[in-house]
């Protein structure tokens, strides 16, 4: 009886020994960049369109990036200038449009056209990773000078494209 009890004790000691192994976990976080213009900022109406003054509109663009990033702007017309709805050939404003960003600060730069070299200019470059959306949206200010030589009684338009990429 006594030997049997001792035997049981030895077995319990053997059961308390630990065993281990490991698994290496790897994670490769990909570069992720997103850009979005909120719907309510996709169609912007310039205010104060009168000769010898500069009309402006406030817009915004949201960027999310986990790497340093850059933002370029370009326009859809050959010269980058706003084009009128009438006239043959269509009337074009004499002055180009300028844009600047408020936070992060960038520009002002003149928005180039498709015939410009380069056809896109940098508004922001080497900007730190982060979530620039919602309350932290990148506020933009578009400015368009109007001259007396610009034909009146017209609706002018321009599509401005923002492109974001790794810095």
């Amino acid at each position: 009886m006594i030997e049997l009890w001792l035997s049981v004790f030895v077995l319990m000691v053997a059961g308390a020994q630990s065993a281990s192994d490991s698994t290496q976990i790897y994670a490769n976080l990909p570069t992720q960049i997103e850009i979005l213009i909120p719907e309510d900022l996709k169609d912007l109406q310039l205010q104060n369109c009168v000769p010898s003054q500069t009309a402006s509109a406030e817009g915004g663009v949201e960027v999310k990036s986990n790497v340093d990033w850059s933002l370029t702007v370009s326009a859809d017309t050959a010269s980058g200038h706003m084009v009128g709805s009438t006239g043959s050939p269509p009337h074009e404003l004499r002055s180009p449009m300028n844009i600047q960003s408020q936070a992060p600060l960038g520009g002002p730069v003149t928005i180039p056209g498709t015939d410009s070299d380069p056809s896109a200019v940098s508004l922001l470059s080497g900007t730190s990773p982060g979530d620039y959306s919602g309350e932290d949206i990148i506020a933009l200010l578009f400015e368009q000078p109007f001259e007396w030589g610009d034909y009146g009684n017209e609706d002018y338009g321009l599509v401005v494209t923002f492109t974001v990429g790794p810095a």
């Binding site: 706003m82 034909y151 338009g157 990429g165």
Partner: protein
């Protein structure tokens, strides 16, 4: 079981690498900028309200000078008239024999519709004098009055009205 876990990790690693490659691309968004640019015209008479004709003498032209500034962003027409239709003595209704003339001097003048020489005789009703397009036109003018030997020596006056109409 161990082999299966490793295989899953391997697949996850491949997926992460694939995402990372895709994220290197640039992303773009566009905003439409619109401007309603109305018609505007401005007329400035850059001269004194009261002009004295100099060198008034029989058989000669009395002369006064001034400048008309027209700013417009549409095609326009300048009209002018005089009241009374000819210069009139201050104390009665006797008029000079000849009408007051306006000579538009700018060689870059918008088309003068009233006279190929740029000289127009004023009448008692509005008459087209000039036409032009968008821009700023600074037009030096001479007011010329030919005095006849039959004109009675006295002080004469006349009021000249200008108006600009968008076309």
């Amino acid at each position: 079981m161990k082999l299966s876990a490793k295989f899953r990790l391997y697949l996850l690693f491949l997926a992460v690498v694939a995402l990372s490659c895709n994220a290197e691309a640039e992303f773009a968004e566009s905003a439409n900028l619109l401007a309603e640019y109305g018609s505007n015209v401005e007329l400035v008479l850059d001269m004194q309200n009261e002009l004295d004709l100099e060198e008034a003498a029989p058989g000669r032209d009395g002369l006064a000078v001034g400048t008309i500034i027209i700013r417009a962003n549409v095609d326009w027409e300048l009209q002018a008239m005089a009241r009374p239709s000819k210069m009139q003595r201050s104390n009665n209704s006797v008029k000079l024999k000849n009408p007051l003339r306006i000579l538009y001097l700018d060689s870059d003048l918008p088309s003068c519709v009233a006279s190929s020489r740029g000289e127009v005789s004023l009448t008692g009703s509005y008459v087209q004098h000039l036409r032009g397009g968008p821009g700023e036109a600074v037009i030096p003018v001479d007011f010329r009055q030919q005095f006849d030997w039959t004109d009675v020596p006295d002080r004469y006056n006349i009021k000249v009205y200008f108006r600009i109409l968008p076309l």
